[in-house]
Symmetry: D2
Subunit: 367 residues, 4 copies
């Protein structure tokens, strides 16, 4: 089957392997007339680029994006937008060793099981570089959302045991933290934790939180394409995600109805104001006009230099030490990926949501 | 848009409201030749039927299913299978009061915001009765999985603060627990907790865990239709779900790579044996042949008889006490719904997975 | 795979066999607020009902439709609309003979080849009764189109050698012709031709033409979902169709560019007025605001009582005379099916077309 | 909406405009293990390249294809295959004049109506260059079909009044005819007709026929995704197509059942042998194992240098003479496009067709 396409109306298809000629994405269904330039997309790609901090692989990649189609005179034309990033370093020599065995925690074995063989260079299609296409497309989705006054903002909520509460920190601090943790005291503590992890030849996980503001009420398609279900799929399609929550999330399991229900206070311009937001902005799969709040649990980088047990492609047990320097933590670079996948989901559902009511459709087509 | 269709090849479309003429589902894409009878489907529906225990609404519904098409001489024909359950009680008088205000924690407001008006009788399309279609279709998916030696088993992992560890309990106990919690000591404790909750005019949440055994390796479609992403969407599309995990789930956030990686031990018949299963049976979005383990956090029933603050449709604040007796906890009746959505996802991905390799396709079409 | 679902946003799924319990359709994605009642749908179904004239099978079926969900207080709710027609006569005895051999021109052999066996009663899923679901859903699509001032009108253009030119006939005559041929002189001649055909124990084919008026310009999705491509698929999915044309159709093959191009004359309210309409209302796959004109070639009913050569399921050659009385011509009853499939396609593309331009989307979501 | 994606399992997404940076396609869902090289794709692209004969535009484009992903060590990997062709000549000066008015028979007006503005350079997305992506992807589909012993062969059946009968000509002649008409006497006559057309500053249309051999029985998905319906959409999505037929096509309208039915003669290896093939290899939307025969009517190139009436973007009537030299006939260059769209449809339906029967699925997954 085909699994590299995402979305119903705002639809993206990504392509590319870690060590192939490049990575890219085609966006089909982007409305005409959105201002778009390469620099807008590049700003998002720069946030996931390697080599920005000592907590990411020092492999240098400029990851420069080119718009190949779908934009004319600075605006989207409504036709497919093709975005591509050339891979600058294609040295496959570095990776030839791992062709012979299955790295624990990686997709090496499962790709072989599925396809019979795989492009083993740098993880091939299962490499983190695959997210370049998502982020580039997400930048375009963000441009669309901006036209509607909607903002998507993700940040590092925890790394290992260090966790922050967004209410105690400032959004302005985001750019001051090398790990996108907007509580700078916690950010410093997390950096210390990462240093210790690196010295132990190990890696760390964490949680990313994403907040959407300015969302209109009424978006989301019951019953299978609920807004939260669509977001769950979008976020869970990111490589290292192992958990997903909306609003109070897993905490609801031990809350009573009286604690968990959000009381309605008033209607303002047709949008219900709530006393609390345990629901995370979604009721019955449809946005309620409050902030959408979601969280993703990210596992520790599976590539570690400590000795591990595994098997070769022919089943012989061996001990391996994975060479090369890898990101000791994926979380900070994944922040913009979570933002991108959230934006892509919202853009798609906002377009889908235009067809819910005949009175609005009639008005739309009235000359 | 359309949100009542689920799946790519094994595709279901559900219909029906709480107090309409009935509830049903059409399954399109079910392979021909699977033995199927109404009694097989009824057995699943009976597990979600109300009035089974004192922890579910005493509303009596027999929920008898009829196969309307797609089965001939006891076997599926490959054409659409239409399943329907008539609603026996359609007394709309019980619900007329809630037409005027928005119940906290319910989809009343968001349906109005989306569609301009709603079928307010018993929650209409956002009622828990909507899951009848899912469970009926899930029974058919389970019949398909059984042909391939795959078994899906869900159970109650926690209710409120009472949590069990599956390793300490027996699957045979499942049918002995009125709340589908296979550790009978814990089950009794949870029942006590529910009693106290009911006396407080309140409701409780919990966690459902689902385990899939017999799954072949190699199923799942990178990058957006990863098996875990598809499961995330499937489970999150169930009404009261607020969190979803695979394997170690949110616990990975505070585990190091060396703790979280599952070492490979050997290959047996092409399937890798692992020392641990923190991954929950999925690596890089593709099944690895181990048990698939997933969990869903279910919120407390939002309908409680304690006084709550809310607003009318015109925005005036009022205090309400929701009448009628509602399930004090959704978890036990949702167990079979989680099982159904898991089975539907697996059936679909197993069919999709047949086209991954040219050598197998060639063999398939060889006369 | 699944082939019983049609449409992207206005999406229908049909089910049912000739001699099963019934036939039905679920419409998912119909906007909320459209006035809808069973009598509106029944009026369309009555046009395809058997036993209306001596040119259709005398089998009596009332084909009474029930709305099972999705309509509340006389209006669509935006949730799935389930429509069902019970089969009144399920006498399978009439058809048991054909279980053993393959009727020429029918789908008996190919269903067996695909599924390994088939529901042989009355053609099962490949019966003409399958179109009941299309027509019922088409009636709902027409209700949507009516809200936008769009009208779809099909009629019999030819039966055997008798062909009419729409310019020479009156739409009012449609209801006066038992074969939906609005030139009453030609209609009488065609009836004579059908009488002769019936006496020869044979059957006849013909051409249906469909005209859409009131269509706005700008509908259709380049490049693969062009409006004409979508219509081609819709019409060709009707059982007996062997050819499809738009505008001048096959005649373009022998016309020069200077003859075939439609000169633009003026712009009126943004819609181009053309001197001619060889294009049939579609340029580059997008509606141009002129009438859409399409034609479908319908083959003669394959069921004839004259002796035919065929083989049994085990491959033995036999001569057969197909018993029972069948429609000597499908064309008149297929007129409303062509209308329905056209309406379904337009409804879907009109919804899809709302997302083409950011300026209109911004205005839509502006409070 | 998004209209640049085609297929369900073998899914392609094309991008690119006439005068943008390039044209390309992403193939998602191609099985792993198919031998593939750039030269295989180039051979198909060379057949649609301009400047090959005096009957196509003399604009020189080498149209060299690059495989950017999805192929490793000479075989497809199962991951997306990205193919791109750079545009060598991007002189937009040639086309600036047509920005101001609507060319008759072109999509200029309808693109403006849909998107609010358009990339007017060389027709932008509605240019014939868009078919490069289709042909490149079609070459990959043909590589898949070849593995299954299926061959797709299209040719020019008529140009203007000159028509051939395939039975009287030899496939070997295809490469000897500059217009892909394998009856060389007719080919010479058609060339004379084209010379006369060109001298009259006019253009010509024609019919392309496509024959598929080696197709297994049982492929196609009733009821909406019938094999012929899918082919109808595929072929009608090609720019200049105005008519489509299968087998006897429009001729069935004036044939009786006794003439049109194909008698079955015997079963050989489970495939029915028929006396005739009026059905064109498809019964009830499912392949019957005979040759599939389809035809497409192609209109004359709308760009002609003779004077034409039209309007400017602001609605003022003007007379225009379209400058530049354009193809006097599209048919010969469209032959390979018809072949490509046919192959893409078959590849997709063959993959979908693997899931029809439980017995075969069980065997597939049996270890």
């Amino acid at each position: 089957m085909s699994g590299s396409t995402f979305g119903t109306l705002f639809k993206i298809t990504t392509w590319g392997e870690s060590h192939g000629k490049g990575i890219g994405v085609v966006i089909d269904g982007c409305p005409a007339g959105i201002p778009l330039g390469e620099e807008m997309i590049q700003a998002y790609l720069n946030r996931r680029k390697p080599g920005q901090t000592r907590y990411s692989t020092p492999r240098k990649e400029n990851d420069l994006v080119t718009i190949q189609s779908g934009v004319f005179e600075g605006r989207t034309t409504g036709t497919p937008i093709s975005l591509a990033v050339l891979n600058e370093t294609q040295r496959s020599g570095d990776y030839s060793e791992i062709a012979g065995y299955y790295r624990p925690g990686h997709a090496d074995f499962t790709f072989d099981a599925k396809y019979g063989f795989r492009d083993y260079r740098g993880g091939g299609r299962s490499s983190g570089r695959e997210t370049i296409g998502r982020v580039a497309a997400g930048a375009v989705a963000c441009a669309l959302l901006k036209e509607l006054g909607i903002e998507v903002c993700a940040y590092t909520r925890s790394i290992g045991p260090i966790q922050i509460d967004y209410k105690n920190c400032k959004k302005e601090n985001l750019s001051s933290s090398p790990i996108y943790m907007p509580d700078l005291t916690a950010s410093a503590a997390a950096e210390e934790y990462l240093e210790a992890t690196m010295q132990a030849h190990d890696s760390a996980g964490g949680v990313i939180e994403c907040i959407v503001s300015g969302m209109p009420a009424g978006i989301g398609e019951p019953v299978f394409d609920k807004l939260d279900a669509a977001l769950a799929k979008a976020i869970f399609s990111i490589g290292a995600v192992k958990g997903f929550e909306i609003g109070s999330g897993f905490a609801v399991a031990n809350k009573r109805g009286s604690e968990n229900n959000d009381a309605f206070l008033s209607l303002e311009h047709g949008v219900a104001q709530k006393q609390t937001n345990h629901a995370g902005g979604i009721l019955g799969g449809i946005s309620d006009g409050s902030e959408i709040i979601l969280r993703a649990a990210i596992k520790a980088t599976p590539s570690i230099s400590a000795t591990q047990q595994t098997v070769t492609r022919t089943g012989e047990p061996i001990s391996v030490n994975i060479k090369g320097r890898h990101d000791p933590v994926i979380v900070p670079r994944a922040v913009v990926v979570v933002e991108a996948m959230t934006a892509l989901t919202l853009a798609d559902q906002l377009l889908c949501g235009m067809t819910a009511r005949m009175d609005k459709i009639r008005e739309f087509y009235k000359k």
